[in-house]
C-alpha cells in the first residue's frame, strides 16, 4: 500500500500541490487527472524522489519512504512526462545503464533488453543514437527502462504520449495484466478515454488540490454524468470552451 499524507509542495510561496492525500493498493490502477499545471507531474516527481515535498509524508507498507529511500527506489518504475533521456547513447546502451544501476544480473539484463526491443519493434534501431529517435521510439525506451527490474510500483506520467495506436493498445493491456499481478500503478494523463477504460479509480486534481477521488462508475452515478469527460468538465473546466475557440478563429482572421 502506497499512502500520501498531506503532501504540500511550494515553489516559493505558490503551492503546486496542496495537502494531497490518497492511498493506492496492490492491483489498483489509479488514474491521476488534472488540467495543465494542476500539480500532477509534481506529485509524480515527489513520489519518484526527484522533488522533496515542503510538507507531508509518503508511506509504503506503513513505513515512511524516507526511512529507507533506497529500498523504496528499488521497487519503483518511472516513466517521466518529458522524453528526458541521454541522446548520445543508443537505446541498448541506455537500457544497459539503467539495468546495471538497478543491479540486474548481466546475462538476464541482455536477454531482457533484446526481448523488449523486439516486442516494441526496435530491434533494428536499438544500436542507433537516441538523438535520431522519434518521440514514440523514445517513449518505448522509457517504458522498457521502467519495466526492466519488474517493479512493485509503476509511476507513469503520460506514458502513451507519441505512441502509435497498436503500441497504445499493448500498453493498456499490459497495465491491466500488471495490475492483475498485484502491482501498484499510478497513471497520470490528460487522455480521459484511456483513463476511463483502464483505471480502477480516478483522482482529479485541480490547482494542486484533490477535487474528486472515486471509481469511474461511482463518479458517474454520483454526479449523474455519462462520461469521465463530462465529469472532468464539470469539476475542472471553468471556461467557456466554445467561446474561446470562436475567439481564436477571429484572432486568426485578424489582418496584420
Amino acid at each position: 500500500m502506497l499512502e500520501l499524507k498531506g503532501l504540500i509542495k511550494k515553489y516559493h510561496v505558490f503551492p503546486a500541490v496542496n495537502k494531497v492525500s490518497f492511498a493506492v493498493g496492490p492491483s489498483e490502477i489509479l488514474g491521476y487527472l488534472g488540467p495543465n499545471g494542476a500539480g500532477k507531474s509534481t506529485t509524480i516527481k515527489i513520489l519518484a524522489g526527484l522533488l522533496k515535498p515542503t510538507e507531508g509524508e509518503i508511506l509504503f507498507n506503513g513505513r515512511n519512504i524516507n526511512k529507507n529511500i533506497y529500498d523504496f527506489k528499488k521497487r519503483l518504475g518511472y516513466v517521466p512526462e518529458e522524453s528526458e533521456i541521454y541522446p548520445h547513447l543508443s537505446a541498448y546502451d541506455y537500457l544497459l545503464l539503467v539495468g546495471r544501476l538497478r543491479r540486474i544480473p548481466e546475462d538476464i539484463l541482455h536477454e531482457k533488453i533484446i526481448q523488449f526491443m523486439k516486442l516494441f519493434g526496435l530491434s533494428e534501431d536499438m544500436h542507433a543514437a537516441i538523438s535520431s529517435f522519434s518521440k514514440g521510439m523514445i517513449q518505448k525506451v522509457l517504458i522498457t527502462s521502467a519495466l526492466l527490474h519488474d517493479p512493485e510500483i509503476l509511476l507513469l506520467d503520460e506514458p502513451l504520449s507519441g505512441l502509435d495506436v497498436t503500441t497504445g493498445l499493448v500498453i493498456k493491456d499490459l497495465l491491466q495484466k500488471l495490475a492483475g499481478e498485484g502491482k501498484i500503478i499510478i497513471y497520470s494523463s490528460h487522455v480521459l478515454e484511456v483513463v476511463e477504460k483502464i483505471c480502477t479509480r480516478v483522482i482529479i486534481i485541480h490547482k494542486g488540490e484533490v477535487v474528486a477521488d472515486d471509481s469511474v462508475e461511482n463518479l458517474r452515478s454520483l454526479m449523474k454524468l455519462p462520461s469521465l469527460e463530462k465529469i472532468f468538465s464539470q469539476l475542472v473546466v471553468r471556461e467557456d470552451t466554445r467561446g474561446i475557440a470562436q475567439k481564436m478563429v477571429a484572432a486568426m482572421k485578424t489582418s496584420t
Binding site: G49, E84, D125, H127, A128, S132
Partner: protein, 580 residues
C-alpha cells in the same frame, strides 16, 4: 540590388529574413563543442576580447619596440610577418572552435526548414554571421597592436599624423585580410570534408582533423612565445629576400605583408607580387567557400532527420575478452554502469569528445615543442634524458586534468533523473567506476602508445621501467584529483570558476613544470640506479596508504551523491541566507 534591398529594409525598420537569420547564427557561434559561452555570455566574450587585445598589443610591442633605437625601418616587415603569423594562428584556433557550429543543427533544421526560407538565404546568413564573428575578434586582435606598430614605425620617426593614419589603415586592411584568410581556409577545409564524406564518416574525420589542427596551432603559438627571446633568428626572412628565394611565396603571412606594403606605395616587385597573391587567395577562398558550403551543407541537411540504423556484430573472441574483462575488472554492476556511461559519453557526446581531443592536442603540442627544442639543440634522442621522459607525464597529467574538467561538464542534465531514482546507499562503486573508466579509456591507451614509442627508442627494459613509473605516479595523481569527487560523471551542472584559473593560472603553470622537473630528474636517477625503483614504489605505496587513511578520516562516511551543485557565493554576506 538584393543587398541594397536588405540594407534599405533594415533602415526602414523592416528586418529582413537574412538579417534575422544572421543574428540567430551569430548568437549560436558562442555556443559550441569546445567552449560554451552560454552562461554569462556577454561578460565572457568581453573578457576574452580584452585578453586578446592586450596580448596582441604586448606581443606587438615586444616585437617592434626595438625600432625605437634603430633608424632604418625597412627590415620591420620581418616583425610584421611574424605578427601576422600570430594573428593567423589565433584565427585558426577560433575557426577550429567554431567548426561544429557551421554544421546544421537538428533544432535549426526542425525550426527553419518548414518556414519559407530559401536555402541560399540560410547560407548567406551563415556566411554573414561568420564574417561578423571574424570581424569582432579581428578588431580585438588588431586595434591596440595597430596603434603600437604605428607609434614605433611612423609616429616616432616622422611625427606626421597623416602618415600615421595612412599606415594604420594599411595595417588594418592587411591584418584583417590575413585573419579572414586563416579563418575561412579552415572553414573551407571543413566544407570540403563535408562534401566528400558521409555524415557519420565526417564526424570521425572532422574530429581527427580538428585535433591535428589544434595541436599544430598550439605548437606554433608556443613556439612563437618561446621565440620571444630569440628575435635575431627571424633574420632568416631577410636572407631569403636578399637571395630572391621562391620560398617567400609559400608563406601566407608574407602575402599580407606584401598587401600592406603595396597599399603603402612601396615599390618593390616582390611585395607587389605577394600582394597579388593575397588578393587571389581572398577571392578564391570566398568563392570556394560558397561552392563547398553549398554542396556540403545541403548534404548534411539532407541526412539530418534520418534514423541511423546500425548493426552491431559480436565476434566470439571479442565477446570472450569483454566477459573476461568484466569478470576481472568490473564485477560490481554500479561500477559497470558508471564505467560504461563514462566511456560512451566521452566517445559519443560531441562536446566531451572534442574536449578530450583538445587536451590530447595540448599535451601533444607541448611534447612536440620539447622535441623540436631537442632537435634544435642537436641532442641525442637515443640517450635517456629528462626532456623525453617528461612526455608521458605531460600526457598523463593533462589528460587527468582534462578528465576531471570533462566529468564536471554535464551531458543532458535533464536526463540525470535516472541516476537519482536508482541511487544506492553505498556510493563507493560510483566513484570507483569513474576512476576505472578514466584509467581504461584515457590512461591505458597512452600507456600502450608510449611503451611502443620508447621500445623503439630506448629498448624494452628502459621503456618498461619508464612507463611503469609514469603510470604509477599518474594513478596516484588521479586518486588525488578524484579523491573528493562525490558525483556521477556528467550529471551535475558545471560550476564555472571553481578552480579560479583566471587568478591562479600562473601558480598552476609553475606547479606543473616543477612537478615535471622534479619527477623527471628523479626518474633519470632511478633509471641509472634501477634498484632505487623498489624504494620509490615502497614510498609511493606508503604515500598512497596515508592518503587513503586521511581520506577515510576526513571525508564523510555516508555522503550523498551531488546532483545540484550551487556556485560559491561571489559576495560574503553577514545575513544568514536561510533567514532571507
Amino acid at each position: 540590388m538584393r543587398i541594397y534591398h536588405h540594407i534599405t529594409a533594415i533602415f526602414q525598420g523592416k528586418t529582413s529574413q537574412v538579417f534575422l537569420l544572421t543574428q540567430h547564427f551569430f548568437r549560436r557561434l558562442f555556443i559550441n563543442d569546445i567552449i560554451s559561452f552560454e552562461d554569462l555570455m556577454k561578460e565572457k566574450v568581453v573578457g576574452l576580447l580584452a585578453l586578446i587585445a592586450v596580448l596582441s598589443a604586448v606581443f606587438g610591442d615586444f616585437l617592434i619596440s626595438r625600432y625605437m633605437f634603430i633608424r632604418d625601418m625597412s627590415p620591420a616587415w620581418v616583425e610584421m610577418c611574424f605578427f601576422i603569423s600570430y594573428l593567423m594562428v589565433l584565427m585558426g584556433i577560433l575557426a577550429v572552435i567554431e567548426w561544429d557550429v557551421f554544421l546544421p543543427d537538428k533544432r535549426d533544421y526542425a525550426n527553419l526548414i518548414p518556414l519559407p526560407v530559401k536555402f541560399r538565404q540560410l547560407l548567406l546568413a551563415k556566411f554573414a554571421s561568420l564574417f561578423a564573428f571574424v570581424s569582432l575578434f579581428a578588431v580585438a586582435g588588431n586595434v591596440l597592436a595597430i596603434f603600437v606598430f604605428s607609434y614605433y614605425l611612423v609616429l616616432l620617426p616622422s611625427k606626421s599624423l597623416i602618415e600615421v593614419f595612412r599606415f594604420a589603415g594599411a595595417l588594418a586592411l592587411g591584418f584583417f585580410a590575413a585573419e579572414f584568410c586563416a579563418f575561412f581556409s579552415l572553414i573551407l577545409i571543413m566544407g570540403f570534408l563535408m562534401t566528400v564524406f558521409k555524415p557519420r564518416a565526417y564526424e570521425v574525420v572532422s574530429l581527427g582533423f580538428r585535433a591535428l589542427v589544434i595541436m599544430v596551432f598550439i605548437f606554433l603559438m608556443l613556439a612563437m612565445i618561446t621565440s620571444f627571446f630569440s628575435i635575431p633568428e627571424l633574420d632568416f626572412l631577410l636572407k631569403l629576400k636578399a637571395n630572391d628565394s621562391p620560398y617567400l611565396y609559400l608563406l601566407p603571412p608574407m602575402w599580407f605583408v606584401g598587401l600592406i606594403k603595396s597599399i603603402m606605395g612601396v615599390k618593390d616587385p616582390l611585395f607587389s607580387q605577394l600582394s597579388v597573391l593575397a588578393w587571389i587567395s581572398l577571392i578564391v577562398l570566398a568563392l570556394s567557400f560558397f561552392v563547398f558550403a553549398f554542396t556540403g551543407y545541403r548534404r548534411q541537411l539532407a541526412g539530418m532527420l534520418d534514423v541511423k540504423k546500425k548493426h552491431v556484430k559480436y565476434f566470439p573472441m571479442g565477446k570472450f575478452l569483454s566477459s573476461l574483462f568484466h569478470k576481472v575488472f568490473l564485477k560490481n554492476p554500479i561500477q559497470k554502469a558508471v564505467f560504461h556511461f563514462f566511456r560512451k559519453t566521452i566517445w559519443k557526446s560531441a562536446h566531451h569528445r572534442m574536449g578530450l581531443a583538445l587536451h590530447t592536442s595540448v599535451a601533444a603540442a607541448l611534447s612536440l615543442l620539447l622535441f623540436a627544442y631537442m632537435i634544435f639543440e642537436r641532442q641525442n634522442l637515443h640517450e635517456v634524458n629528462a626532456t623525453m621522459l617528461s612526455f608521458t607525464l605531460i600526457f598523463y597529467t593533462l589528460l587527468i586534468m582534462g578528465a576531471k574538467s570533462l566529468v564536471d561538464t554535464p551531458a543532458s542534465l535533464e536526463a540525470n533523473w535516472i541516476f537519482r531514482i536508482t541511487e544506492k546507499k553505498n556510493k563507493k562503486p560510483y566513484i570507483t567506476g569513474l576512476k576505472k573508466g578514466v584509467f581504461v579509456v584515457i590512461l591505458f591507451p597512452v600507456f600502450v602508445f608510449f611503451v611502443i614509442f620508447f621500445v623503439f627508442l630506448w629498448g624494452l627494459k628502459i621503456s618498461f621501467l619508464h612507463n611503469l613509473f609514469s603510470l604509477f605516479v599518474s594513478l596516484f595523481l588521479m586518486e588525488v584529483f578524484f579523491g573528493r569527487y562525490h558525483k556521477v560523471p556528467f550529471t551535475c551542472p558545471s560550476v564555472p570558476g571553481k578552480s579560479r584559473v583566471h587568478l591562479w593560472w600562473f601558480f598552476y603553470a609553475i606547479g606543473f613544470f616543477l612537478y615535471l622537473e622534479i619527477l623527471c630528474r628523479l626518474e633519470v636517477f632511478l633509471l641509472k640506479n634501477p634498484r632505487g625503483f623498489f624504494v620509490f614504489y615502497t614510498v609511493l605505496i606508503g604515500f598512497f596508504l596515508i592518503f587513503k587513511f586521511l581520506q577515510a578520516i576526513l571525508s564523510q562516511k555516508d555522503f550523498s551523491l551531488i546532483f545540484d551543485e550551487k556556485p560559491p557565493s561571489v559576495m560574503i554576506s553577514l545575513v544568514n541566507p536561510e533567514e532571507e
